[in-house]
Homo-oligomer: 204 residues x 2
């Protein structure tokens, strides 16, 4: 039916999982369409901007995972009390997204020699820089990423942490107690816990 | 004085110009602090996340240009009529930001051999893909990037277009009449026109 929401993405958590977390939190019914990797070349030209995830909702097609996650976060009441607080949520989400981009630069590097070079910098300097500052930031923010309270930034972080760990090569929260605790706190939210227990098992 | 807003960035348009555009549109007084490139190593550790632009406002320090631009856009009334429209603004801003990241991947590549390889793909495939779709998108959206009306996405695009053109090697709106017209429309807004006429002349 046309009113049924549908999310299209690779069969992984990756960039789609924050959307799935918010849809679970909202208790929203939707079709979780996961296409096979080999079908991507034929699906890509049908997407608005050559990328997934794509969400079909309210008769429209929307892309860009952070835009969709923010929208759902607002629907769930997981936004700030005002525009300023919203900005602080956005800011920290972009910081985490910057870390994601740095890890991706290393992980998806095809030139093995270059990958080794980048690896040193990313794993020993860039990632620890972000993770240690994020850990201190969470500690200073009452155990959350923004405004001292639960927001969609926290769900975004918990959802994408598996993908970050996959690219990093080990658990990115290990050795960062405040990030570990934050992740566990989000995963203990009843609707998130329910989703994680029933979602397809994937390694990314 | 403490209530004075201050923006700190390199002496270029780059990622800072969309903030400056919005501050101009809002007629907001602020200190436009542009540091010398050679001072960056000493400034970097003093920033919250090792990056600029940094905005000091309301007694707080905020980073991440898109987060700040969105906040100012809301203050200026250049947001959507509802959360859904806000999402469509965010989406298109991220699409443009993806194009920026692709151009940066080519422009900042230090290995000359690799740069030549990436150049072919970026200039003949990736950039035309984004620019032709963006041009058609603007045409279908009443001459704007989102929701058929002026939004902060349009100011973001006009502000960053010089930086995109710099990395691209020529005017990115050339051959794309709807993007050309959109850029001109934004640059003709009285407050933006005033800012552009008085801003420091820089090549990036």
């Amino acid at each position: 039916m046309a009113s049924q929401w549908k999310m299209t993405y690779f069969p992984v958590k990756g960039l789609g999982e924050s959307i799935r977390f918010l849809l679970a939190y909202l208790d929203k019914e939707y079709e979780d369409h996961r296409f096979n990797v080999e079908d991507w070349p034929s699906i890509k030209p049908t997407t608005p901007w050559g990328q997934t995830p794509v969400l079909e909702a309210n008769g429209q097609t929307v892309t860009q995972s952070i835009a969709i996650t923010r929208y759902l976060g607002r629907q769930a009441g997981l936004c700030g009390a005002d525009a300023w607080e919203d900005m602080r949520i956005d800011e920290i989400v972009y910081v985490i997204n910057d870390l994601r981009a740095e890890l991706a630069k290393y992980h998806y590097e095809k030139d093995e020699k270059r990958k080794e070079e980048v690896k040193g910098t990313v794993l020993s300097t860039t990632a620890p820089f972000y993770l240690s500052r994020l850990d201190a930031h969470v500690k200073a923010n009452n155990g959350y990423l923004a405004n001292g309270k639960l927001s969609w930034a926290d769900l975004y972080f918990a959802a994408i942490s598996d993908y970050l760990s996959f690219m990093y090569g080990s658990d990115i929260t290990a050795g960062y107690p405040n990030l570990t605790e934050l992740r566990e706190k989000v995963l203990a939210l009843p609707k998130i816990k329910e989703w994680v227990s029933k979602r397809p098992v994937t390694n990314v």
